[in-house]
Symmetry: C2
Subunit: 462 residues, 2 copies
Amino acid sequence: MPQRPPLPPAFLGALETLLGPRLSTSPAVCAHHGRDESIFAAMPPDAVVHARTQDEVVAIVRLCRDHGVPLVPYGAGSSLEGHTLATQGGLTLNLQQMDRVIAIHPEDQTATVQPGVTRKALNAELRDTGLFFPIDPGADATIGGMCATRASGTNAVRYGTMRENVLNLTVVTADGEVVRTGQRARKSAAGYDLTRLFVGSEGTLGVVVEATVRLYPLPESVMAAVCAFPDIGAAVQVVVQTIQLGVPIARCEFVDATAIRALNGYSRTGLPEQPHLFFEFHGSEAGVKEQVAIVQALAQDGGGAQFQWASSPEERTRLWEARHNVYFAALQLRPGCRSVVTDVCVPISRLAECVGQTAQDLQQSGMLGPIVGHVGDGNFHVQMLVDAADHQEVEQAEALNARLVRRALAMEGTCTGEHGVGLHKQGFLLDELGASSVALMRQIKHAMDPHNLMNPGKVFAF
Amino acid sequence: MPQRPPLPPAFLGALETLLGPRLSTSPAVCAHHGRDESIFAAMPPDAVVHARTQDEVVAIVRLCRDHGVPLVPYGAGSSLEGHTLATQGGLTLNLQQMDRVIAIHPEDQTATVQPGVTRKALNAELRDTGLFFPIDPGADATIGGMCATRASGTNAVRYGTMRENVLNLTVVTADGEVVRTGQRARKSAAGYDLTRLFVGSEGTLGVVVEATVRLYPLPESVMAAVCAFPDIGAAVQVVVQTIQLGVPIARCEFVDATAIRALNGYSRTGLPEQPHLFFEFHGSEAGVKEQVAIVQALAQDGGGAQFQWASSPEERTRLWEARHNVYFAALQLRPGCRSVVTDVCVPISRLAECVGQTAQDLQQSGMLGPIVGHVGDGNFHVQMLVDAADHQEVEQAEALNARLVRRALAMEGTCTGEHGVGLHKQGFLLDELGASSVALMRQIKHAMDPHNLMNPGKVFAF
């Protein structure tokens, strides 16, 4: 790594005056903030601050601007794509202490939160309202981080992603201005869609300090089941038919045999080591029954086994917790390994073909890599378990990912359904959208952050 | 109006070489393109061209750039906010001849169209697929224009607006580059959300030359009904309760007594001159029955009359055509008049209060102004019928609109739910989002269109 100049003493002095012990330059704290769940080598910042208020964020951003110091916003640190790595050192702004639920409007089905509130914390706050917040990436990510990466999860097939579920944001931009992107009405045609500009911008355009999100009524009836299939193709085909019939299924997850083995080991799920679909149905009692009847018939025609029902709410929770833990469960299949996780998303008509060819490629490569996916959206992940120190192995994994992305792009798909670009997919982004689209993104970045201080090095080269 | 220099002869010559008779400088053609449905005085361009291909659009945009000529993209001309008026003269680019449906992917529920395809033409093409495109502004607008204004309509409460239903766009930007904003997958986290940046940008950032939109399966069962209420408050309260209960109603429209009078005159609907709700329910047979049972009970408790059912598909079509024609029907209430149409949208919890106070204000003003609305979204319109030549009357209408917007903003609502800002709501936009947000929009505009040639004068002052 090239030598960097140290942070200016006047900058650190001003931060210390502002934040006292919430400024740290300790190597341990910096190291902790210098890695995430990606395969990338650690890139620690030179200092870390914890903010508690919007005013503090404004002051911090202005100090960074005045002193030319790069700033990396930081939530739960659960990125898979290197989003929180301090590529140029500088300051990491940890927002976990901005964890207040500011307002819940049950009658409007909205919640306004600070960025450090996690998805689980929000749902805990909602417990008595009859409402829930559906977006559920694997990790217990912060709402701020989920805005930044345009996160999604198992419920997206029915409830949409962060793109559809953020009503407005308050953002501190690179020049230290506070921008409010919208009101609390369900729809608006008032000017450029600044909300959507920030959702998915990966911290490169500003720091989210407040978000208003949509909530949904807890369904009157919920049923969950798992179903084993003889092979991957049969399972995926059932999903494709379910979506094409317009069944309003709430969750529809594919888990391959290797991933089942990982779950059985980690969460004692005791499932046969075969490809599975995990289903959840939301609706009125009659509505759920109708959905179940259709999907059961499709599964049976497709060679699926009997549905195994999660009979109680506790069992249902256990099932989905197991599904959410698949990432960590898979890591246990090879102690000490790291993951290279793919994230393509294709039109549903191409899904069976894409998953099938990828499984074949994986098998031929001899690598260990569970396949799971939010297949109702056309999105699936191969989690290749690699020895991060073994360059050849890492290269092999990256080569498989590159072949997978090429395959997905040829099918009019995207290189990333929900994890974002980060450090990892910048070449793929160019392949996917072309030079003129990335040039336009860069134009916007240059206009909004001319000195490249906001999470530099992410999404594209400045 | 200040004298403008004429269009450069070299510019006109190049256009003529490119387009032959599809270039016109005839005063009649220019006048036709110089007005829309708004109250604004006509502002004709100096010339009009009809493009047929993306390559032609690129050539036209580059000629405008090279010669510094303002360009106004033009679809069906049905804007209510002055979007297509040539504030600085220049060239109007009519896209109505780019009216080809490029591809329909029934299995993925997407359609890719040229910008001049209208919503009705698209649905006619879809007739045999079992799918439909739900977004339905009052006019038979073009898909390109609907992208530009982030249009919505009666189905948005269930299916969302253009924001949720455009998968990707191809846009020719001010520098003549072709930008493709996304692939055809249902979701993506690949870089900045350029799709949403262009949706709602009102032609100020580029010309849409292709759009891929989401389609939906025609529901197995559809039922439609109208229900009369003793007063406005009672009707709106039923809508609020319907939404808060999470009933997945497809359409839920408020039509006040004056609007009913207009409909009866124009479409022979024969309804009692009272406030009404128009409902439509989509789903399985059992699902629709459930929805109907809930809403009927709410209506009955709220003092509503018996539901009048549209018993046949033809009658249902007639009902919704009448609803879509309410704008033109209302114009007939006062021959020769023009409309000043309001468009606020508020959180559903404030809707009854907002509509109630507005109806009172309208009554006190003595103006004739039917109230209709997509009230399931919290969005409603007062269509004030004014003599455009009577300045005092126009001022009175604008003053009522200003009071209404103030009321809506105080309720965390927006000045425009679906019509856009155009020339009309630039001050309201500033009131709604604040100077820093509008400054950011302007920053983006300056970066992408530094010479202010793309639909200049709309959304905000350059």
